[in-house]
Amino acid sequence: MIEALPRLIVTGIMDGTIYGLLAMGLTLQYGVCQVLNIAHGEFLMLAAMLTWTLSAAFGISPLLVVAIIGPLLFGLGFLLQTTLFKALKARAPSPPVFEGNALLVAFGLFYIISFVARISWGARDYVNTILTDRVSFLGASFTLNQMIACVIAVAIGVAVYLFLSRTRQGRAIRATAEDPATAGLMGVNTNMILAFSFGLGALLAAIVGIMMSWRNPISTYIGFNNTVIALVVVTLGGLGSVPGSFIAGILIGIVSRLVSGLWEPLLIVPVYYAILMVLLLVKPVGLLGKR
Amino acid sequence: MPILEGQGVTKYFGGLAAVSKVDFAVDHGEIVGLIGPNGAGKTTLFNLISGTYPLSSGEVRFKGQKLNGLKPHRICRMGLSRTFQETKVFGNMPVLQNVLVGAFFGTPTHVSGADAAKEASRALEFVGLSAMAGYPIQDLTLVNQKRVEVARALATKPELLLLDELMAGLNPAEVSEAMGLVKRIRDRGITIFMVEHVMKAIMGVCGRIMVLHHGEKIAEGTCNEISCNKTVIDIYLGEETHAGS
């Protein structure tokens, strides 16, 4: 059992980078737009299912579908913010009311998207895995898709972090997240920033969804559980903290592998929720959060 | 023993000290004024006394009892009540009901419905608003809403009343009326500690004045002493040349 520990931890870290990327999208949407997007996982699911459709029906390589799916889901997120959430914000008498309403609307979107998907693709599993060859690394064997996904996740994660901290656009985004009124006064087009950020969050979910389809069987049901994981990670890392969610993702990845490998796989999900609840009680702002 | 005293009262928000090592004492029956430029920490000090925020360090004692860590509702029941800088009336009720809340919940012992109603009516009459008892409070002018806040606080039968910028937004006639009200409250045996910007009011009713600046107490004394204090004059002259307040 104990020899498995290093392997579990390394696998956990690899899983964790993916969770971190997914969570980054969610935390961005909450931090900038104040929307806790319960439908986040549905974007992941859509991307995964579209990957299957594009590759099985149109023969496009699952490695390249991101060129189509990426902009598509970015656009969807962008649109949702400029139409739905912007209108919601305008009508809400106060920020907490808006957050509550946005949460409910996101849940409505969850039902809409997941059932539109269910009507389109049905309820079955689809297998569209690629790069399944095993490779030896640090004395254990991993699949190629696992490793490549991990590398991509880290690369994109770092890129997003640098974008937010070093570029002007990124600074504008952070300013809007901290104090939208002042940012607006300083000439920032806050509407554009919000729409962009929401779209970016959706894009990150899409990338994770595509990568997930490389590794696992997918179905129209995979959205919700991934939203839950993202939620736990985001809470641990701090609602609104981008680096926080990446670090937290890795931690959660490790914990989940340890639980499933050393205890009981069926209890991973309850453990997630238990962690979520304990976190909220002990340190609601998470590791790096400031709200 | 002073009815209210504080030693080394300090409050940090993040890295910034909003209130820093302030000592103060208020004796029974006094009307003490608390003045200072905007952002000096006056309302924060009130919030520390009334229990809205916990102190970062220092101690506050009311009637000899430590207030540190007590929640506002307990402090209220001990006999310390307050009004708020931004009027916090219960916008979803009529005027009398607003005051009734104070009468019902602000006293340490249980109050019957009839007694609470009587007390509320009396408090409302004291501030001169009996005629508006049944009106939705949203319909009242700001001046009158402030008066309801005072009535509400009085209905809790306090021994000490914190008044936070009662005169803000009042015209000179209204200020005079409010000054009269403050004196009448003191005549009832209630000690008053008041934050104020309107100098006429401070000079007119307060026996003693404390001056805060950047969270620190920089002066204390009688009205004469303070109005002659060079540091205080500098601060206020400085503020007048800058702002258009």
């Binding site: 806790l36 739905l84 919601l88 009508r91 907490p96 009311v97 957050e99 509550g100 309403n101 949460l103 409910l104 609307v105 849940f107 409505g108 979107l109 039902y111 809409i112 059932f115 539109v116 009507i119 839950v228 939620l231 809470t235 609602l239 069926l266 999900v269 309850p270 929720y273 238990a274 979520l276 609840m277 909220l280 009680l281 609601p284 | 229990g51 809205t52 929640k71 506002p72 509702h73 209220c76 029941r77 009540s81 708020f84 916090k88 009336v89 219960f90 916008g91 979803n92 009720m93 009901q97 009734l100 809340v101 104070g102 019902f104 919940f105 602000g106 006293t107 419905g113 509400r152 809790t156």
Partner: protein, 330 residues
């Protein structure tokens, strides 16, 4: 004197009369209705209890609770386990008590959190209890196939649910008129001021949360036999947390009867659509949820004053003819 002016002059009489009629209808239904309609009305009553209980707390305090499904589910599972071993009413009470114990604990630890964290926590709690209960039931207690409940007389079930509904509504009514209701109202007006006027706002909220959960748990216990087959994941379905919210918001949170209206409408839709067009029902639910939050924040009931006002102005204009043009410009 025409009907309209009589009605507005004797508003209370009319309301009381209306309520009485509805009660008589519901109470006598089992005598002449067929099983399908009785079950339908029982379901509507169940949703009414959930919607009204949810609004009781979340409407008054502004804290959005997503724990409804947890309390409801506790009641269902209580009945699933205890049916037959104890008298029916006793199990219902146990369901309510268990739910309230849970609510008290949750309230104690979470009601000091900010609104969004409270919402996330209660959501996480429903999912946690759903998964853990399922795991425990299947793997530890060995009930791999869930629990079967024998068919109960629909009429009896209906009376039980009706009785609970009346109790719930009466409780809310009396709370509103009580000192406690005044405290709640003031917390809604300004929580900070309420706290400073001597109200222990945290405890007040916890108590309210606990009271609201009693009815949810009891409703679950009564409803369980109608489900016939009970399984932990069905009992704790998070959907049951969102449906009452939609009902309450759709109906309108300003008045007591708002959630009742919402529950009636959605209970009917749920029962008639859900069985045949399951997926389309969920889709419709999502669309209506979004639409209601966006366009009907005050619910259907919130439209009433606007409609009344428009009607009044219209009839005034018609009656006064040309003169009205000058008066209408106020």
């Amino acid at each position: 004197m025409n009907i309209a002016s009589f009605a507005s002059a004797h508003k209370k009489l009319v309301t009381a009369g209306f309520i009485l009629l509805v009660l008589i209808f519901l109470a006598t239904l089992p005598l002449y209705g067929n099983d399908y309609y009785i079950n339908l009305l029982t379901t509507i009553l169940m949703y009414t209890i959930l919607a009204v209980s949810w609004a009781m707390f979340s409407g008054a305090t502004g804290y959005m609770s997503l724990a409804t499904a947890a309390f409801f589910g506790v009641g269902i599972m209580a009945m699933a386990f205890l049916y037959g071993t104890l008298p029916f009413p006793v199990i219902v009470v146990i369901g309510g008590v268990l739910a309230s114990a849970l609510a008290f604990l949750i309230g104690l630890v979470t009601l000091r959190l900010k609104g969004i964290y409270f919402a996330i926590f209660t959501f996480g709690f429903v999912m946690f209890i759903s998964q853990t209960a399922y795991y425990t039931d299947v793997n530890i207690l060995g009930n791999a196939w869930g629990h079967e409940l024998p068919l109960m007389d629909p009429g009896m079930l209906h009376y039980a649910m009706l009785g609970l509904t009346v109790m719930t509504l009466l409780t809310i009514y009396f709370i509103r008129r009580s000192r406690y209701g005044l405290a709640l109202l003031s917390i809604g007006g300004s929580e900070e001021a309420a706290e400073h006027m001597g109200i222990n706002t945290t405890m007040t909220k916890i108590v309210l949360f606990t009271i609201s959960s009693v009815f949810m748990g009891a409703a679950g216990a009564i409803y369980a036999p109608a489900l016939i087959h009970v399984e932990a994941r069905i009992a704790f379905n998070v959907f049951n947390s969102f449906v009452p919210i939609l009902m309450a918001i759709f109906g309108g949170m300003g008045q007591l009867y708002g959630p009742v209206v919402g529950a009636a409408v959605f209970g009917y839709l749920d029962r008639t659509l859900r069985v045949e067009l399951q997926e389309y029902f969920m889709l419709a639910f999502g669309i209506i949820l979004v639409a209601v939050i966006l366009f009907l924040p005050n619910g259907i009931v919130g439209l009433l004053p606007t409609l009344q006002e428009r009607l009044r102005r219209l009839t005034a204009r018609l009656r006064k003819g040309g003169e009205t043009e000058q008066h209408a410009n106020t």
